[in-house]
């Protein structure tokens, strides 16, 4: 049997979506027996003109007001295949119902009335379709009867639509001029529009395809549940992509446990065959490892990303705005985790497609590019590579209020960063001279002064002055400058998120050794990721890590541009440049904040020394 095509019909309110469906059914002879008579009788009782729309508007309120409130579905056969048609409401109030209908579709028809042309919901629906991942779209120019069946009216709509879709990076498969009310070009070609040489609407449906489940992609097996009906532990879930066989070694992320597939469980037959994308399966494992709902099974060579911070494009349907810092539930595959919006990069108006810099919230019905931070690590993928593990919804009190797709990752995969910590299977050789001995002789404590801030915020300038001042005061001190460390210790690292994480880890380890020698260590690294700074903090003993945030607006840093780097970043000569093409996560609770756009270097140095006086300048007891 050929797979069923799921086709959604969207567009502005009153542009004739439901009418089109009624006409399609009538003309193709698919209308259930007695239905037409029933609808006509109902219209007569109500003293209203008969409307095709009433076929799909199954609710009394919908028929009374001639408006579709909720999405509905109806089954249909084209000459070539089976299809289910999803009618989505066009009214702005019912956008959540439109998304509910459209998200499950393989293809879309966007209905635009020739007399009114492209309207607000036309644009909004087109924007949402692309975000929902629908790439197969045809534009149906309806109500050609009210535009005199002229090619000029059709061309106007076609040009407007093409321009809008071009901005979305999408090219419609076809433009079809029709009159749903009179049946022109719906099932049979219209005699009133001889200038149209393209397909009828029915013909255009057969140009759409149903994507096959992604069997050839890397395996993604989100764990839905673990059953213990008898002495076996059966791990169940749906394979979202790839193929799974008995004997495969599976990695479960996050938490990185591995085990071998022992059996594939089925009922009523038990053939042990490989299982592939789209199948809801059950497996048992050879070794008893702890696996739970939410983890994603993969093969070791192609794991998902493991992180607690990522970028995404979201659409927001909630009545209350999506706010930075407030907790929401993020649901991605079978994972549920508390999540907050860390920052909003920009807000896109889905109607005008204008972009504005993000502030503290995303209003209802807007699209935004955001950074999200989850409370615990989760497994995910770039949505372009793996849709099922690259999309998520945001919920509050259980109610879904928005959705989003994961952008290409600008943050380090924490799996590699964590692996760095894990490989510490060695013992530390204790010397006969300890840190306290050294601090006693030095007559001051050691500490790590960790400066973080954008390029141009003044880290090196303050670092060298601070080092000189501390030295002058008689302190043992050493300044680890970011550029200097990259010349040697980290000369094999670039600026990818993973390399940045490794650079910070190495620096943290070096700072720890200096600290053990009793020195006041000053570091000057952009260190843009909160997790990396947290890692550096966790390397040194509690209380010895002083995070100094050089808080200086990007515009000011860019004007300084002492090394000419911003100019190169803006021109694209340098990639992954913090603040321009890579993110900077502001510290949440730094020990010291220096407003380097407002205060002089000397003032900043004095502020740090003032902080150190009570903590460092006398040796520990």
């Amino acid at each position: 049997m050929t797979p069923l095509l799921r086709l959604v019909i969207v567009g502005h309110v009153d542009h004739g979506k439901s009418t089109l469906i009624g006409r399609l059914f009538h003309d193709s002879g698919k209308l259930p027996e007695g239905k037409l008579e029933q609808l006509k009788a109902a219209a007569e009782r109500r003293g209203m003109e008969f409307e095709w729309a009433n076929l799909m508007d199954g609710l009394q309120a919908e028929r009374d007001q001639n408006v579709t409130i909720d999405t509905a579905q109806i089954w249909f056969r084209t000459p070539k295949r089976e299809a289910v048609i999803i009618d989505a409401p066009g009214h702005k109030e019912f956008l959540k119902n439109m998304v509910t209908g459209a998200a499950s579709a393989d293809a879309a028809l966007l209905v635009v009335a020739a007399d009114e042309g492209v309207q607000e919901q036309t644009r909004r629906h087109a924007s949402l379709l692309t975000l929902l991942g629908l790439r197969q779209v045809a534009v149906v120019v309806n109500k050609m009867d009210s535009a005199g069946f002229t090619q000029a009216a059709f061309d106007k709509v076609r040009q407007d639509c093409s321009a809008f879709f071009a901005k979305l990076g999408l090219e419609p498969r076809a433009f079809i001029p029709i009159s749903a009310r009179h049946g022109d070009n719906v099932v049979s070609p219209s005699t009133k529009m001889p200038w149209h040489s393209g397909p009828t609407l029915l013909e255009s449906l057969d140009t759409f395809s149903v994507p096959a489940p992604p069997e050839g992609r890397p395996l993604r097996f989100p764990v839905q549940d673990v059953y213990r009906f008898d002495d076996r532990r059966i791990i169940v879930g749906r394979i979202e992509s790839g193929t799974l066989r008995v004997g495969d070694r599976l990695l479960f992320s996050p938490r990185d446990k591995t085990s071998v597939v022992k059996t594939i469980e089925r009922w009523p037959t038990h053939d042990g065959k490989a299982v592939t994308a789209g199948m809801s399966v059950g497996i048992t494992l050879a070794e008893q490892i702890y696996v739970e709902r939410g983890q994603v099974g993969s093969h070791e060579e192609h794991p998902p990303i493991e992180t607690d911070v990522f970028d995404a494009k979201v659409f927001w349907l909630g009545k209350d705005a999506l706010e930075v810092g407030r907790p929401y539930t993020l649901k991605l595959a079978t994972q549920d985790v508390e999540c907050r919006v860390q920052s909003i990069e920009k807000i896109v108006d889905p109607v005008a497609l204008t972009e504005t810099p993000g502030g503290g919230s995303v209003p209802r019905d807007a699209i935004a590019e955001v950074s999200l931070r989850t409370r615990t690590h989760i497994a995910l993928d770039d949505s372009a590579l793996s849709p099922a593990t690259g999309r998520f919804v945001l919920a509050k009190d259980g109610l879904i209020l928005g959705g989003g797709i994961v952008s290409p990752c600008r943050y380090p995969d924490r799996r590699s960063a964590l692996a760095g910590i894990k490989s510490r299977n060695l013992s530390w050789t204790e010397g006969k001279v300890g840190r306290k001995d050294r601090e006693g002789r030095n007559r001051h404590r050691g500490t790590v002064l960790w400066m973080t801030g954008l390029s141009g915020s003044g880290k090196s300038a303050i670092g060298v002055e601070l080092e000189r001042e501390l030295f002058r005061m008689g302190l043992h001190t050493y300044f680890l400058d970011g550029d200097n460390v990259r010349h040697g210790l980290s000369s094999n690292l670039g600026f990818s998120p993973e390399d940045r994480a490794e650079n910070i880890r190495r620096t943290g380890e070096v700072a720890k050794l200096f600290l053990d020698s009793g020195a006041v260590v000053i570091t000057a690294f952009i260190s843009p990721y909160r997790d990396d700074r947290q890692l550096a903090r966790s390397i040194v003993p509690e209380g010895d890590f002083v995070e100094i945030f050089l808080d200086c607006p990007l515009e000011v840093c860019e004007t300084r541009d002492t090394k000419g780097l911003y100019r190169k970043a803006r021109s694209g000569e340098i990639r992954d440049f913090t603040g321009i093409s890579a993110p900077y996560e502001r510290p949440e609770k730094p020990e010291i904040t220096l407003r380097t756009d407002r205060q002089s270097i000397a003032e900043s140095v004095a502020q740090v020394i003032d902080y150190l006086k009570s903590r460092v300048l006398k040796p520990s007891a």
Partner: protein, 270 residues
Amino acid sequence: MDHLDRLENDSVFILREAYRKFDKLAMLWSMGKDSTVMLWLARKAFLGRVPYPVLHIDTTFKIPSMVEFRDRMAREMKLDLIVSKNEGALSRKRTFPDGGATRVECCTWLKKDALKKAVDERGFNGIIVGVRRDEEPTRAKERYFSPRDANMEWDVEDQPPEFWDQFKTDFKPGTHVRIHPLLHWTELDIWDYIAREKIPVISLYFSDANGERYRSIGCAQCTARIRSTARTPAEIAEELRKTNVPERAGRAQDKESEDAFEKLRRDGYM
């Protein structure tokens, strides 16, 4: 994967979500083809078991062979079967046609109220129901996870969004959720699947000595037979491929008024 495989795997996914999210779960079984397929899918999902009670809302007007089929299958599948009746309405004869009730009133009292009784007594918070979108227009509006308030009412104008297999599964105490794992199936899919999987179904669906069969079964007084020669699931599927007559044409309670069925469903009917 073919069409039926996709339907089956998605239904199994929904059944497993329901089992994971609701601690007091039950499945409605009318012995009709849809809920019988649903039992089969449950055993696929839970590897041979039905790990929650199966609830039959007994109006006492069911065609006698249905009860015989019920008890035999329940034994074979080792079901935890609960039979719920609205004894009060039955003893007071609030029934159609002999009790003077309309068909819709009879459905409300004997089905909806009997379901509410079972939900209240057993504290169920999730009820799995085998409705399909293609059956009739209000069911076409349904969600996979569809909330009902404490009075079992359905707020159809403000349903929670659900997409990308993410559902609203948290609800206030006192409310329950209807879970609809067959929502995306059609009548034809059901018969194709019964034929493929060789699922035992009640013989009322097959053509009898008079050349008649039931296309949809319910209470004897409100369900009519159709003319048919189909004697196997495959023959029924063949017959359906050629017909334009709606499935519930033989169900009289839908037709008392234009919105009779919508009213029933808003009030908590299946």
